[in-house]
């Protein structure tokens, strides 16, 4: 029991010595400016990289939108097409053997025009 008490006292003494030596080693004076400077530089670079990423994303979205608009713009159904074809068929029906055949002819002509337009694009 006595030796246990001795050991405890010895440990307490060693702990006190270690505790007292805790402030002996310091960070060097240039560490603070070094850390802050590096952190600021990295933060700036990070902001720059984020800006470039966002700008690239925005440009890509605009590009894709323009491409979609351009590629689908020529084929968009025109509101007046059905009426125009119907009108054309009515005019042709006089000499074409009936309205049905005139409608077929009008559709064929419309397809030809669309085909020509697609080829020219």
């Amino acid at each position: 029991m006595h030796s246990l008490v001795d050991w405890q006292e010895r440990y307490d003494e060693v702990e006190a010595m270690v505790q007292a030596a805790g402030g002996y080693v310091q960070a060097s004076d240039d560490l603070r400016p070094r850390v802050l400077e590096t952190a600021r530089t990295e933060a700036g670079e990070l902001r720059g990289r984020r800006w470039v990423r966002q700008a690239t994303l925005a440009a890509a979205i605009v590009g894709i939108a323009v491409t979609i608009r351009t590629s689908t713009g020529g084929n968009e159904p025109k509101i007046g097409d059905a009426d125009a074809v119907y009108e054309q068929a009515s005019q042709k029906s006089v000499g074409a053997g009936g309205f049905g055949w005139a409608l077929v002819q009008a559709f064929c002509e419309l397809r030809e025009r669309q085909s020509e337009k697609l080829q020219s694009d």
Binding site: Y11, A20, G23, A27, L31, R32, A39
Partner: protein, 188 residues
């Protein structure tokens, strides 16, 4: 020294400010923690320059991703863990983990009123540096950071029993070394 809970709370306040204000608030966190972090890292890397590199890498990482630290249960324990991981990475890179028998690389403080104790401080640091890294880090966290074995175990990712055992071994060695150093000093 402030009680550990108070210190942990101050670290949390700093990390919250860092998360809100960004890199502009890093100075306060540095002033509060750098000495302790360098001291901890020096016992792992056994070199002041490497220790400061590890602390710098950690604090810069924290500044660029402050939510990492702010979201942690205990930001101070998390910061210590980050510094430990960074220090171990530096050791692995430089293969410099052997026992160091001098203090020439360290930046030390010499206060006029502590000149008489300087020899003791040097003996303590030399004794700590002679310990295996696993034991030295437990001593630092237990005595200087006033952590419980359970808290240390979380940082070191070991069981509390293992940590307590390492501490006992370390204290036995330190007691032997420091008693010897004290006797030598008396004879000299």
């Amino acid at each position: 020294m402030a009680p550990p809970d108070d210190f942990s709370q101050r670290v949390r306040d700093c990390t919250d400010r860092l998360a809100a204000a960004g890199v502009a608030a890093l100075g306060a966190l540095f002033d509060l923690t750098s000495h302790r972090l360098v001291r901890f890292s020096v016992t792992l890397t056994r070199n002041q320059h490497d220790a400061e590199d590890a602390v710098q890498a950690c604090l810069v990482k924290v500044a660029s991703r402050p939510l990492l630290l702010a979201a942690a249960d205990s930001p101070w324990a998390y910061l210590l863990q980050m510094v430990r991981n960074e220090s171990l990475a530096i050791i692995r890179r430089k293969r410099r983990a052997g026992v160091v028998t001098s203090l020439t690389d360290l930046v030390t403080r010499r206060r006029i009123d502590e000149l008489e104790q300087e020899e003791t401080h040097r003996a303590v640091w030399l004794a700590i540096r002679s310990l295996p890294q696993e034991q030295a880090e437990v001593v630092v966290l237990k005595i200087w950071e006033a952590m419980t074995f359970a808290e240390i175990a979380q940082i070191l990712e070991a069981s509390p029993n293992t940590v307590a055992s390492r501490y006992q071994y370390a204290m036995s060695k330190l007691a032997a070394k420091l008693t010897k150093a004290r006797q030598e000093a008396r004879h000299a």
